[in-house]
């Protein structure tokens, strides 16, 4: 049993060790501050600023849009629908949506884009990633909001507030740490997923200036750099991997710290 636990922990450590050791050499300031110059994928100069900024735009947009959809659903499921058949149906649909692989979301969005004659762009990338990420966010929020103690809500109703006021002012305040964790969890999934943006966001060497230009994402940048025949570019792929790991770890750390900070608003 101890062996199994050490295998799991060991794999995590091995993963970090290998990626960091291999990529540390190629990591330089120019990697994160410059966009690719001509011939980048064959050994030319430049960095992956296009992918870093692109990923941040895409993931932030998708997380924001998913939040706008998720919070109403989570509040609705807990405040208004309760144990009804409709709530069970919605939760079942969310479970199915949660399990759908990201490439199916990409394929689905692609068929819509073909039907509308649209081109791959930041806009469609955001839409696809939003669809992929909102079940994850909603399910996490649903679980947290369900733990809000009944007496808080009863107290609020006793003072004469409506269900909407209770939901927006009392419940969200109590569930705030959990909601923030759900948002950051979704952000981490959104920024790291490659399959959903493969067809829908395109790829480019520049930073998009409008919503309808194609956008480069970090996972795809890593993948394309790894697929070149030049060893120096492959090294850059490992360095890009480190950058992605750092971003995801920051999100994870931020969620832990903010949870602890926000616990002062939570009634025990």
């Amino acid at each position: 049993m101890l062996l199994s636990t050490s295998i799991v922990l060991g794999s995590l450590l091995a993963l970090f060790a290998v990626v960091i050791l291999k990529g540390a050499f190629a990591l330089s300031l120019s990697m994160i501050t410059e966009t690719p110059k001509a011939g980048y994928y064959l050994g030319g100069g430049g960095g992956i600023l296009n992918a870093i900024v692109g990923s941040l735009y895409l993931a932030s947009g998708a997380t924001a849009l998913a939040f706008v959809i998720s919070i109403p659903i989570a509040l609705f499921l807990n405040e208004y629908a309760g144990r009804s058949r409709f709530a069970s149906l919605t939760r079942l649909s969310l479970d199915i949506l949660w399990g759908i692989p990201s490439i199916v979301y990409g394929a689905f969005a692609f068929t819509i884009m073909l039907y509308l004659g649209a081109r791959a762009s930041l806009f469609w990338g955001i839409i696809t990633v939003t669809l992929f990420v909102f079940p994850i966010m909603t399910r996490a929020m649903d679980e947290v909001i369900a733990t809000v103690p009944l007496r808080l809500k009863e107290g609020s109703y006793a003072l004469g507030s409506t269900r909407l006021e209770t939901a927006l002012k009392v419940v969200t305040r109590q569930a705030l740490p959990g909601i923030l964790t759900a948002i950051l969890l979704a952000f981490g999934r959104a920024i790291g997923d490659a399959a959903s943006v493969l067809f829908t966001a395109g790829y480019t060497d520049s930073i998009p200036r409008s919503l309808f230009e194609p956008v480069a994402t970090l996972p795809l940048a890593i993948f394309f750099q790894l697929s070149t025949p030049t060893p120096e570019v492959q090294e850059r792929a490992y360095a890009s991997g480190i950058i992605l790991l750092i971003i995801v770890s920051i999100a994870s750390l931020a969620s832990r710290i903010s949870t602890r900070r926000l616990m002062k608003y939570v009634v025990k």
């Binding site: 922990l9 995590l12 290998v18 629908a81 649909s93 399990g99 979301y105 490659a194 890593i222 999100a251």
Partner: protein, 282 residues
């Protein structure tokens, strides 16, 4: 608010409908049995035999479960029943971190670490040569990817087994391991099965990590060291040629539809198991 909730239920149907519509050309041009059971894959001549891809996907996912479940179940039991608080406190953030790592990074690690080990050490030990890009590589990488799912759900479920059951077992003179094996696990079995089913569907649909290590050769793999070509990798690798060859796009959408159907089935099954578990314990 109501609209948002209705939207999520509708979305499942919309996605299914859109995929069926786009897979319709190939579904109507050839009988389903020919599509699913033949192995001849030549898009330029209009032959789409999905069999190697379906079998490849099943093998990779099956291998993942075989590799992951014993290790993760033992880890979950250890963390829930035996581990001191300090170890439990260290493992929880570790497992959360593992759950958050993007799949490209797993693929990167697979290419850098797992594939060379298979090529240089494991294959010669078993008497065959291999490029390292194999079913085994895919299985190992995927099993580490799904381990957080299995460990966290199993640990939670084992934790909800009522203490009085354990007390009764101890009162009858059983050792801790006997109690764990015969009482706790039996009670937690539905939850553990649900965790395994969820891990199965996650591994089934995983794209990036698998396509980087599994070799992508459209042939039914005959040994662990042969390359395979799972369905998600098929879609991801060939989306560029989708529109240039007739029926190719439709074939890839059919692959996506198969993925959707299998995953939806497993998600519903897991939900049913978990609901039965909840109603039994209340």
């Amino acid at each position: 608010m109501l609209l948002a909730a209705i939207f999520s239920s509708l979305l499942v149907f919309i996605i299914t409908f859109a995929l069926i519509q786009s897979a319709a050309p190939i579904l109507t041009s050839q009988p389903l049995s020919k599509l699913l059971l033949t192995s001849y894959w030549h898009p330029t001549t209009g032959d789409f035999g999905f069999y190697p891809f379906i079998v490849g996907t099943l093998f990779v996912t099956g291998l993942t479960i075989v590799l992951a479940v014993p290790v993760c179940l033992l880890t979950a039991i250890y963390l829930a029943e035996y581990a001191p608080d300090k170890i439990r406190g260290t493992m929880k953030p570790a497992i959360d971190l593992l759950a958050g790592i993007p799949s490209v990074i797993f693929g990167l690690w697979g290419v850098l670490f797992v594939v060379p080990i298979i090529r240089n050490y494991v294959a010669p030990l078993s008497g065959t040569t291999s490029t390292g890009y194999s079913l085994l590589a895919g299985g190992v990488v995927l099993s580490i990817m799904v381990s957080p799912i299995i460990i966290s759900i199993s640990q939670e479920v084992i934790g909800t087994v009522p203490f009085r059951l354990r007390e009764a077992s101890f009162a009858l003179g059983a050792t801790k391991w006997q109690t764990t094996k015969h009482v706790v696990l039996r009670r937690a079995l539905p939850g553990i099965v649900a965790a395994v089913v969820l891990a199965f569907s996650r591994a089934f649909g995983e794209t990036m990590a698998v396509l980087m290590v599994v070799g992508n050769v459209a042939k039914v793999p005959s040994t662990l060291f042969d390359p395979a070509y799972p369905l998600p990798a098929l879609i991801a690798n060939n989306y560029g040629e989708m529109l240039s060859i007739p029926l190719y796009g439709s074939a890839l959408m059919l692959a996506a539809l198969i993925l959707l159907a299998v995953v939806a089935l497993f998600s519903v099954a897991a939900r049913i198991i978990l609901t039965k578990l909840e109603s039994r314990s209340t």
